[in-house]
């Protein structure tokens, strides 16, 4: 019941280019180190994490109330609120606003929710094109790829790749890999889209219940550039983006970028409270499985996530397998605990794409017990039957052997003798261990044999 291309297979392909894998690993490790430096400069770091965690726990426990508060206050500010129970409804709502207004020029800043809902693909099928304005997102959009990282969407690409892509789509000089030259080309290209935009779609980092306003964080200012000229601003948010009070931003804005890139704060943390005169502002609040996740006692606190991607950058598996190997909008360790909720069958491989080393939980700014949830998802997936028959038989057999000490001793002895006398039984292509690793040498006696001799 594995996917056609599950994480392990896709990762194996990624690793075939070893120098590139090293580069990917080192680039993200560098980001992790910047996070460490930023965190270590704040004596109150662990306290901030605890506060972030508690505020989110509290909010999740009172989510209905805060969502209603938010709606009331936002509406009082003149913002239109839409509720979407799933991705389809989210896409329909946006599509309707576009067709009602006959919009053709649409820009969108980064929103992982719209990736999760596959908004771009949905609109393309209706003949509507959206221009992604985050530089990394624009690059992957040109290449018809998905973002491979929620903060650094094009981190799987080198400047040479960007140069080729821009040569093809923006007519830049072939072979000119100068980052400044390439960025300037993107600037000029995007500027036209900003000026002409009729509709600007943004994500939401934090929606403040007490004010009815919301905050969008970018480093490029592209969200602001987009909404400044557009007639309508639509902000899309997962319903877990709520925080109770504006003062809580003092916790989350400090945690977010330090965890993400090691910056003290995003270059632009833009507060939107009401539409400017003549503009319409809409917010689409999306469930898409979040209520279901909230009802899973073991997994509900995954909804605390503020999408900083610190768990991506620290994950030794992510760094060596690339975001696309996770085949979901949100990759990395957090994606592996969120995605099975969206589709257990399609994402049954993801909780196994981890060594359970625990580094993800340690860097998480809101203290999600990510690696423990990975372990728990494994139990759920096996109980629900999303596991291959071979694995089931193998594990059942092992469990039986370990429950019966005499059988264990007998098989242990046979196993050791097999390796010793018939090494080709294990040293062959069918044994994945042996592909790139030698087998341990088989000793002539077990510890138990030795111990019993001592006692005589």
């Amino acid at each position: 019941m594995e996917n056609l291309k599950n994480h392990a297979t896709a990762a194996e392909e990624f690793i075939k280019d070893e120098p590139r894998t090293d580069w990917h690993d080192e680039t993200l490790w560098f980001v992790r180190q910047k996070r460490d430096l930023a965190a270590h400069t704040l004596p109150e770091w662990e306290e901030l994490r605890e506060w972030g965690s508690q505020i989110k726990n509290h909010t999740l426990s009172n989510l209905d109330e805060y969502l209603e508060n938010f709606e009331t206050n936002a509406q009082a500010n003149g913002i239109k609120i839409h509720w979407a129970k799933d991705a389809e409804e989210h896409n329909q709502i946006i599509h309707k606003i576009i067709t009602d207004n006959k919009f053709e020029k649409i820009v969108k800043s980064k929103s992982m929710l719209t990736e999760e809902c596959h908004l771009n693909e949905f609109l393309i099928q209706k003949g509507i094109a959206v221009v992604d304005t985050d530089l990394g997102e624009r690059i992957v959009q040109f290449r018809n790829e998905a973002p491979s990282h929620i903060v650094l969407p094009a981190i799987h690409l080198k400047k040479q790749d960007v140069s080729e892509t821009f040569h093809k789509h923006l007519n830049t000089e072939k072979g000119n890999n100068d980052p400044q030259y390439l960025t300037e080309a993107a600037r000029q290209h995007l500027r036209n889209h900003f000026v002409e935009s009729e509709l600007a779609i943004t994500g939401v980092n934090f929606a403040v219940a007490e004010t009815g306003g919301f905050v969008v964080c970018t480093n490029e200012g592209n969200a602001d550039m987009g909404v400044n000229t557009a007639k309508i601003h639509i902000a899309c948010m997962g319903m877990e983006k709520i925080i109770p009070k504006a003062e809580h931003l003092a916790v989350f804005l400090r945690l977010l970028t330090r965890s993400a890139t090691g910056q003290p704060i995003t270059t632009y943390s833009s507060h939107f409270n009401k539409p400017r005169p003549g503009q319409e502002m809409h917010i689409v609040i999306v469930d898409n499985g979040r209520s279901r996740q909230l009802g899973r006692a073991d997994f509900r606190n995954s909804l605390k996530c503020i999408r900083c991607a610190a768990c991506f950058n620290t994950c030794p598996v992510y760094r060596r397998s690339g975001g696309h190997s996770y085949h979901t909008a949100v990759a990395g360790p957090i994606g592996s605990i969120l995605s099975p909720n969206l589709d257990m069958r399609a994402n049954a491989d993801l909780p196994f794409a981890s060594t359970l080393c625990g580094s993800c939980s340690n860097v998480c700014p809101v203290k999600i017990d990510i690696h423990e949830q990975l372990w728990k998802w494994r139990q759920v997936l096996v109980n629900e039957g999303y596991v291959t028959t071979t694995k089931k038989i193998g594990m059942g057999g092992m469990a039986m052997v370990f429950a019966h000490p005499r059988l264990y001793r007998l098989l242990g002895s046979i196993g050791r003798k097999t390796i010793k006398w018939f090494p080709f039984f294990v040293n062959n292509k069918l044994n994945p261990w042996y592909k790139q690793r030698d087998m341990p040498e088989a000793p002539k006696e077990s510890f138990r044999d030795w111990f019993k001799k001592q006692q005589k």
């Binding site: 990762a11 580094s359 096996v382 059942g396 429950a403 030698d438 077990s446």
Partner: protein, 245 residues
Amino acid sequence: MKVALFVPCYIDQFYPNVGIATYQLLKKLGCDVAFPLNQTCCGQPMANSGFSATTTGCDKNFVENFKGFDYIVAPSGSCVLHIKDHLKDEQNPEEAKKIRNSIYELTEFLVDILKVTNLESTFPHRVGMHISCHGQRGLHLSSMTETMDKPFSKPEQLLMQVKGLQLLTPERPDECCGFGGTFCVFEEAVSVKMGKDRVKEHEANDVEYITAGDVSCLMHLEGILKRQNSRVKTIHIAEILNHTV
């Protein structure tokens, strides 16, 4: 002090020397060491693969073997963590609970319970320290680079007492080696790549040995080192601490 020695299944079968070193070391330090003969496995390989529902028999056998001891000690952070977090026995819930609270990883036992400060061991070699994730992040045997703890390390505290030993830290001091239980075969490519990267950092330090508190990490790294015909060898920390000239 009545101490039960738990020698995890794969150590029993493939690395008996690690069990022997642990046994001898504990005896040397004055412990009354028992080895319950019907012990098998902690159940981790099944549970970490999602099959914790199948470990009832294995758990029961563990409780049967290890009930009634003051302490249980094992040369493996990973197996100890599994017992601490997951051992249960519906017929014997009190015994299971007692075991969960009295099982120790070897270096933790030496530092916290025996309070060893003066080991009589010698190992005149350049040794690279591999920190095993479950011992570190699970059992907190040492501080972690991600968190803001003051630096400390129980295994290193012991290795510093070994005469002649030169301890070397790899560039990324606490990155996972990629073993990860069944991960090592189901995610073979990533697993091996992670191991190769660990090995590379230790080789850059020109070490003669890589040591760790977990044989599973070492078995994985050893497999890679041997395949690469490296000069570097692996050795469990118990073998070093028990080593005399």
